[in-house]
């Protein structure tokens, strides 16, 4: 609970960034679903993971193939084997494999039911159809996935080969090409949905796809309303934000944090609490506060936080 101030400020900044990425999606049922656009860092991380998977996969595959080749033929046998139909078939398969790893990997995974490559899955993000202003959210179609992945070529692979080939050293033309390619690479940094050029062309975006587990209900604890009685004045000091913080503390169940929070609440409402019954006190206070705020809600009165 007693975090250093700098970490608290960073936390606030993170939360502000998360709030900026919130979008609303109107489903055909008329329900507004909150959607969070994936952060640029998680997308870059996902791409990096995918590239690592592809490269490590290819290297392993070639190493295994090489070992098998040596094992069967021996070192001088390989030289004589040129023109052997089996070797030729393997060569064809290798060229196709390189092609597929560049274009097929992303297509195959994004066309699956999760619409995410392994890298994206690890970062908890997925591809989705981006609703155009005034429309409800649509389906993600195969054509969209194909379009966004074809454009990936100028955004990822060509700049990478260009840099690896030392293209930026080639005088004015090299610099011009470098600037031109950087426009594509940095495109996601200059729009609010962090769309890359491929997303723009295909009508897609990348959103967070977090899974949440159903937590236990909190008001199932034995009723202690007779032991702790909270009046309206005591319940009116806090709002929904404080309630959620309290919920988080109760779910984490860290004795130290429970003690601190219980002390803070008691100072605020002027109570004295014996040692050892913090959890009971907090559970009862939580249930009472939530009941108080929810009954206000039913009458259309909401209290966002203690300052409201």
């Amino acid at each position: 609970m007693s975090r250093p101030a700098s970490s608290h400020a960073a936390n606030l900044k993170l939360r502000a960034y998360a709030a900026k990425r919130q979008r609303q999606l109107l489903t055909p049922e008329g329900l507004v679903l909150p959607i969070t656009v994936a952060s640029r860092s998680s997308r870059a991380g996902a791409l990096l993971l995918d590239l690592i998977i592809i490269i490590v996969g290819l290297i392993t595959f070639f190493a295994v193939l090489g070992v098998i080749g040596f094992g069967i033929l021996g070192s001088e046998g390989l030289g004589r084997a040129v023109g052997n139909p089996v070797i030729e078939l393997i060569q064809v398969l290798l060229v196709m494999l390189l092609f597929l790893s560049r274009y097929g990997y992303f297509l195959y995974f994004e066309l699956g039911p999760r619409a995410a490559t392994p890298g994206k899955r690890l970062m908890g993000i997925r591809v989705a159809a981006r609703p155009v202003a005034g429309e409800t959210g649509g389906r993600l179609t195969a054509e969209m996935v194909i379009a966004r992945n074809l454009v990936r070529d100028v955004e990822v692979f060509i700049p990478a080969f260009f840099l690896l080939g030392g293209g930026q050293d080639a005088g004015v033309a090299g610099i011009a090409a470098f600037v031109w390619l950087m426009v594509f690479v940095l495109f996601p940094c200059f729009n609010k949905d962090s769309l890359r050029a491929g997303d723009l062309v295909a009508g897609t975006w990348v959103v967070e796809a977090k899974h949440a587990k159903l937590q236990s209900a909190l008001s199932l604890a034995p009723d202690r309303r007779t032991e702790y009685r909270f009046g309206t004045a005591e319940l009116s000091v806090y709002g929904e934000h404080e309630l959620q913080v309290l919920e988080g503390v109760l779910r984490q169940d860290n004795p130290e944090a429970l003690r601190e929070v219980a002390d803070a609440i008691c100072r605020k409402i002027g109570w004295q609490l014996g040692a050892g019954d913090e959890r009971e006190f907090l559970e009862t206070f939580y249930a009472a506060l939530r009941g108080h705020l929810e009954s206000g809600m039913r009458f259309g009165k909401r209290k966002a936080d203690k300052f409201a």
Binding site: L33, P113, A115, I146, G203
Partner: protein, 349 residues
């Protein structure tokens, strides 16, 4: 919750609902079994194992989905339990992605695509195809004229490694040699695969560069065709025009067709960006991008065929007449395929 490797995970019955002191918790406990049933179905769908879903669950899926979405709507107005709201939002989102996910399988999509979807997409970008064709012809003419005026231009246009001795003023017999087929099929499949991978790269680049208003695509087309024009001049100058034409036609009608379509697809996207018409630019671009992507998916297929023709047919068939015949047959086939095949019946995909 039960572990996922059990065939049908048991859903724990809710604890005593009446024990909950809060009204919003009772609301949640009454419905959580349905939510968890939906979650089980969605998880199976996400894992690509719809076979694991029982018939009963499948029949209830639409009802369960609506129940979960309406629970979310109610909970937002009555409950302050952040964990439950988070769970419901994540569940509704996952369910939405599955219920409104792609309804067509990859094989179904392919059948539809080859049975008319591709032709229809190609026909719908006819204007861009005309522009790209004009640019390609102009590029060839430029290459030809430049080299005809001053043969030094040849070295500026054609990269050194690519010419392979086929330079202006080269011995006609050496040029004729370079057009001759190889003695046997050794190594040809590797060559064909390499050609496919290389040409697809060029075609995909032509498409992807269309994003910048189509201008880089046009430059790429002009440059590539200028190389061809320059090469053409060299052979015609040596009196081998007919043989060169036949040599090129075998695969060229398919390969240049694919590059034409790729360039046109790129141009289509770029042109829509510049002139979206009456619609919002985002909506216009999405439609153009989806149409262009269909054309591009077909281009890859054309390039596979071109690679095979280039790797096998050209290297095995020697006579100029036979080569020309193959090229013309392919050209007629593509034109008929794109012009005549009707679009498949409109279906929700």
């Amino acid at each position: 919750m039960a572990l996922s490797f059990f065939k049908s995970p048991e859903i724990a019955p809710p604890p005593d609902i009446e024990a909950a002191s809060l009204r919003s918790d009772r609301f949640r406990l009454e419905r959580e079994v349905d939510w968890q049933r939906l979650e089980g179905i969605i998880t199976a769908l996400e894992k690509g194992r719809p076979g694991r879903i029982s018939d009963e669950d499948l029949l209830d899926l639409p009802v369960l989905y609506r129940k979960a979405t309406s629970s979310l709507a109610v909970a937002r107005e009555t409950s302050l339990d952040a964990a439950t709201l988070d769970y419901l939002e994540a569940l509704a989102r996952r369910a939405w992605f599955q219920v409104y996910g792609p309804r067509i399988t990859l094989s179904g999509w392919l059948r539809r695509f080859l049975g008319g979807g591709w032709s229809a997409a190609v026909r719908s970008i006819w204007l861009d195809i005309c522009i790209a064709l004009a640019v390609m012809v102009a590029g060839t003419a430029v290459g030809w004229l430049l080299v005809a005026r001053d043969s030094e231009w040849f070295y500026a246009l054609v990269p050194g490694g690519m010419s392979g001795g086929r330079t202006p003023g080269a011995d006609p017999s050496a040029l004729r040699e370079s057009l001759a087929p190889q003695a046997d099929a050794e190594g040809l499949s590797t060559f064909a695969a390499y050609l496919f991978s290389n040409n697809s790269g060029v075609a995909i680049m032509a498409f992807a560069l269309g994003f910048a208003f189509g201008i880089p695509t046009l430059l790429l087309l002009v440059y590539n065709m200028a190389v061809l024009g320059a090469m053409m001049w060299v052979f015609v100058d040596a009196g081998l025009g007919y043989e060169f034409g036949a040599w090129l036609a075998v695969h060229g009608t398919t390969e240049l067709g694919a590059i034409l379509l790729a360039g046109a697809a790129g141009l289509h996207v770029g042109r829509t960006m510049a002139f979206p018409g009456n619609r919002a630019i985002m909506a216009a671009m999405r439609d153009a991008g989806v149409r262009a992507a269909q054309v591009m998916a077909g281009c890859t297929l054309m390039l596979v065929i071109a690679g095979l023709l280039e790797g096998y047919a050209r290297q095995l068939v020697g006579q100029a007449e036979a080569r020309l015949a193959i090229g013309v047959i392919m050209l007629v086939f593509w034109i008929c395929y794109f012009a005549l095949l009707r679009a498949p019946a409109e279906r929700e995909t």
